[in-house]
């Protein structure tokens, strides 16, 4: 005891623990320090307590670090497994829906038969890529999607012409116009079977840098503001809103009414080496855009991945022919799609 007013704390477990865990205020701490300076047994108790705490902290850190190293080395994490199982489940869902769609379509639209009662070539759900094997004259019906891709020089038989006309007059509402896939987290979105598009669809792959709302002075800021104001905040998958979802936002561009957008995200660390220098502006989102068979896939490379629930709520608006606005994670990102050859597509 040094000043006669302080009690020995060498056996006070609570006080010793509070000291080493930093739970005492400054005066309490100073009081213990003062006492320990003149009380060898108390100082020894305090030192032992500090050693135990230091050793426990060290063991905890090293154990966690060893776990982390092991996981990194094996490339495994619970998320990794979720991702794998998520992708597998999505593929199964796509395959199942595709088979169902084909079966339903086939029962509703029996394939055309020739005079001998044989099924016409290509009428049994051939996909667009197989079209080259179809006869030069005649029709290829693609993917059971009620779509008629007319081959050069061919004229469809009357029943199918009528069917095609009916289709033009009253386009089927697609409830899955927007599809979000969270590639990195596996459970971020839902993929559905998609009707194959005609051969006239433009296929392209290029990079675009999305402008995040608020980037002052950026060329797309005004358009983004306008589009952002128009964009409705609604869930991506909302059955009750499905019809409204499909109502074409681009009234002057009927050719892309049925276009679908697939939204993916990947970490910025996965950017290809030749794109790394483009990822340094926090208001820009380097994004790979792939247009294939009527589907536009936007793969955003983000420094920090968006929560899967946010990905589910993401949606795409198309304020103009050459641009889309992605609303995700509370941000609006404007993309120029370089439609119509405004910019030379950049191959990977």
């Amino acid at each position: 005891m040094t000043d006669g007013s302080d009690a020995h704390f060498g056996t006070d477990e609570d006080l010793l623990s509070a000291y080493v865990l930093g739970r005492l205020n400054a005066p309490e701490r100073e009081k213990m320090d003062r006492h320990a300076a003149g009380c060898a047994p108390c100082a020894a108790s305090l030192r032992r307590e500090m050693l135990v705490a230091a050793g426990a902290r060290r063991l905890g850190r090293e154990t966690l670090k060893a776990h982390l190293k092991k996981r990194i080395a094996s490339g495994e994490s619970p998320v990794e497994w979720l991702r794998i199982t998520g992708v597998a489940a999505t593929l199964c869902l796509v395959a199942g829906l595709g088979v169902y769609y084909l079966a339903v379509n086939r029962s509703q639209n029996p394939p055309p038969v020739d005079a001998a009662g044989r099924e016409a070539p290509g009428a049994s759900g051939e996909i667009a890529q197989n079209r080259q094997s179809a006869p030069r004259e005649g029709l290829a019906v693609t993917g059971g999607a009620n779509k008629v891709a007319q081959l050069p020089g061919a004229s469809p038989p009357a029943p199918l012409r009528a069917q095609a006309k009916q289709k033009e007059a009253a386009p089927t509402l697609q409830s899955d116009r927007y599809t979000a896939l969270n590639e990195e987290r596996g459970a971020g979105g839902i993929a559905r079977s998609e009707p194959a598009r005609g051969a006239s669809q433009e296929n392209a792959e290029f990079w675009s840098e999305g402008t995040v709302e608020g980037a002052e002075g950026s060329p797309g800021a005004a358009a983004l503001k306008k589009a952002g104001a128009e964009a409705a905040e609604k869930p991506l998958i909302s059955r009750s809103d499905a019809a409204r979802d499909i109502a074409p936002r681009r009234k002057d561009a009927p050719a892309i009414e049925e276009e679908k957008y697939v939204l993916r995200q990947r970490p910025a660390s996965a950017l290809p080496a030749d794109r790394e220098n483009h990822a340094r502006d926090r208001m820009k989102v380097p994004t790979q855009i792939e247009k294939t068979g009527g589907r536009t896939t936007l793969t955003m490379y983000l420094d920090s991945l968006v929560d899967e629930n946010e990905m589910r709520r993401a949606h795409v608006d198309a304020p103009g022919d050459d641009s889309v606005v992605v609303t995700v994670g509370g941000k609006k990102i404007l993309y120029r799609l370089h439609r119509g050859g405004e910019t030379e597509p950049q191959r990977k």
């Binding site: 050793g55 996981r71 929560d307 509370g330």
Partner: protein
């Protein structure tokens, strides 16, 4: 060239939530996201790729500790925290190794302990660590929950299936005595 900062704070919240729940996979995700900038920093400052990985892992473990003990203040993005922590740990290590610090990293590390004190503490904590490993599983768990994760007696009782906080307190005392006995075997002067 500026570092890319997080665009989406929402993802940080999800990661923090996973850490609070004890999901170590969250650290693996953070490791992947932050590997590139931390590696660039360490390589620019006399380090190797192994050093960079080590610093990043240390930073992630520090984040885990702070979050789990309720001491983490979410004032900046997680990426910023991880980057700054890795940088500070590397600075301390450079200073300790008495390497020359390049111009870009001019902040002096705050390292109060003298090199000799630090060495003694390092050796002693290694002895305690080793003794803890030899301690039985229930005691090791209890002491780690109390001293490392800084859990309350009530939380520890729930986590270890003990009756109540008093039972934990009593068990902790016994565990400490057992640990001190193991330590005395290695460090006879430490009574």
């Amino acid at each position: 060239m500026g570092r890319v900062t997080s665009l989406f704070a929402g993802n940080d919240a999800a990661i923090l939530d996973r850490i609070r729940k004890g999901d170590e996979g969250a650290l693996v995700d953070l490791y992947r996201e932050n590997r590139r900038p931390v590696r660039a920093l360490i390589l620019r400052n006399s380090g190797t790729e192994d050093d960079a990985d080590d610093m990043l892992q240390e930073a992630l473990v520090t984040l885990w500790e702070r979050v789990r003990t309720g001491k983490f203040r979410h004032e900046a993005g997680l990426g910023t925290f991880v980057y700054a922590t890795a940088r500070n740990i590397w600075l301390r290590r450079l200073a300790r190794a008495r390497r020359e610090v390049p111009g870009e990293m001019t902040d002096s590390p705050s390292d109060d302990a003298s090199p000799l004190d630090a060495m003694i503490e390092e050796e002693e904590s290694a002895v305690v660590r080793s003794a803890l490993e030899r301690l039985g599983e229930p005691c090791r768990k209890l002491l780690l929950l109390f001293y490392w994760e800084e859990k309350s007696m009530e939380s520890i009782a729930a986590a270890l299936g003990m009756a109540n906080a008093d039972t934990v307190k009593s068990k902790k005392y016994q565990c400490k005595k057992a640990l001190e006995a193991l330590i005395r075997e290695r460090m006879p002067g430490n009574d």
